[in-house]
Symmetry: C2
Subunit: 304 residues, 2 copies
């Protein structure tokens, strides 16, 4: 493909090349960030945890009172069709539900807008590059405080990234690859696009609040059970977090990614730790074996 932007999109009943997929500048999905979204991945021709993503997306839409015309089955078809048309074997697949644009030439209530779905498939991306994943990610604890649950529910996937973007700039200034944000009680929450796990004495811990309930996070909890590794889901104070033996982060965009530095502290001789590395290896092995997989039928592409 000659264009800079590879991929296929679905916007209001139409399939089109991703580079042509746009939204109006007056759409409240943009102008008020009044939108929810989800991201599913395709690896070696199969979706991972597609049903879990679709269920979470519907919960998010209900929470924001967003009512697109598509059913869950129709949204599933949109996502599969975007992947089919893109012919991507490894894909990053996003689906958004936007509030839409108020009908009249005046400011009106969001309850009156026509909500709609956008979806697209583009080449698979990782939050951290392969090189960084191999040497271990370098993180800092950012001074930006994660937006409180009393203001914006973090379990409803959203684009309110102002705090996370500030954290990303703090990481850049510190020469790190990424950041972790705390809540106002100094508990670990999440980073820009990823959940956070701590490992102490072979035991795994991840925060129970203030963060997205990530599908990869959920899969890690399942993986720990299968591998007989104890996993606790509870508040994680930063004081405890900074004493971790190992740290890793999880995202649909990258899977399980080990951390080798937190602030000035070097973990595991500056390399990915044994528990993190084991879980990462098992995660990709099991995905290849068809764990929670929905294979894509690439041959039945309809003409656009």
């Amino acid at each position: 493909m000659a264009s800079n932007v590879q991929g296929f999109a679905y916007v209001k009943d139409r399939y089109l090349p991703l580079e042509d997929a746009t939204i109006p500048v007056i759409d409240w999905g943009y102008r008020r960030s009044d939108v929810t979204y989800d991201v599913v991945t395709v690896w070696k021709g199969a979706f991972f945890q597609l049903d879990a993503h679709l269920a979470r997306f519907r919960r998010s839409m209900k929470s924001l009172r967003l009512k697109p015309r598509e059913s869950d089955d129709e949204i599933r078809t949109c996502l599969i069709e975007c992947v089919r048309r893109s012919q991507l074997r490894d894909a990053y697949v996003a689906v958004d539900c936007l509030r839409g644009t108020p009908a009249a030439e005046k400011l009106s209530h969001p309850a009156n807008a026509d909500n709609y779905i956008i979806a697209f498939a583009r080449p698979y991306v990782s939050i951290m590059s392969e090189d960084v994943q191999k040497r271990g990610t370098h993180l800092i604890v950012a001074s930006a405080q994660r937006i409180a649950s009393e203001s914006v529910d973090p379990t409803v996937k959203n684009f309110h990234w102002g705090d996370l973007t500030q954290g990303a700039f703090e990481a850049l200034d510190a020469g790190a690859d990424g950041c972790v944000l705390l809540d106002r009680d100094k508990n670990v929450t999440e980073g820009p696009g990823y959940n956070v796990f701590s490992v102490v004495a072979g035991k795994v811990v991840t925060p129970n609040r203030g963060a997205l309930e990530g599908i990869t996070r959920m899969s890690v909890i399942e993986l720990c059970a299968d591998e007989r590794i104890q996993c606790e889901v509870r508040p994680l104070p930063v004081s405890e977090f900074l004493q971790s033996d190992e740290i890793f982060i999880t995202s649909s965009a990258g899977g399980i990614m080990p951390v080798s530095r937190i602030n000035k502290t070097i973990l595991c001789n500056d390399r990915p730790g044994p528990v993190s590395s084991h879980l990462r290896q098992r995660y990709w092995e099991r995905r290849e074996q068809g764990w929670h997989a929905t294979p894509v039928d690439y041959d039945s592409v309809e003409s656009s």
Copy 2:
């Protein structure tokens, strides 16, 4: 104009009808709400407080490390040109600076994106309709908590409206026209698109933190000084706010708008109060007299 969307826009060096102005679905201005904006109004052919808006917009961009190629003078020209081309005598004029789309087909750092300006002029709108302004706005105190300053700086105008949108739905459910959000210490902050003022015993109070430093708010403070009305800028606890003699809200989109009900409490016999009404009248009188005005030269429209 036959179209539903009236107005003119500027997007990356091009002027075009507002209905054709779009942004890519993969732009971080949308996907991470990594954007700041400002709104100026034109009334009877003249901008109000144009310099103050341009200065605030530049401060917001600097705070988010957004560097568009346009200077302040060029942005001023964009706004004037959008109004000229639209030929609107009363206009709502928005200007956004978006982070942009990462150059490569991978997730990269926001520092690497090409930031850019979008501007548009559309017909003037008020937050509250003329009818509501006449009878007095009905407000509720929402349960949604305003996003804390430690997470997202409210003085940098932003689209993180999740809490405000939730408040708007709470207002709808309660049969009210709008809402006011509190911070976690139960101080009044702001509503969706407006600042809030309380009047007690002829004295005006507005919050000093947790809210946008609105240009109309600033103009009201100036107006109070000119009219010899005492105006305090300080924390405003909700307990004090609910005992107000009068309440009014301010926005570029509507000016000064009196409130006649707060929660179940009826203010001033269910009508706009005397101080609010006086300030509202003086505000529009002075705008007509050229207060902080920059007249638009409509005759010099260039061909597009």
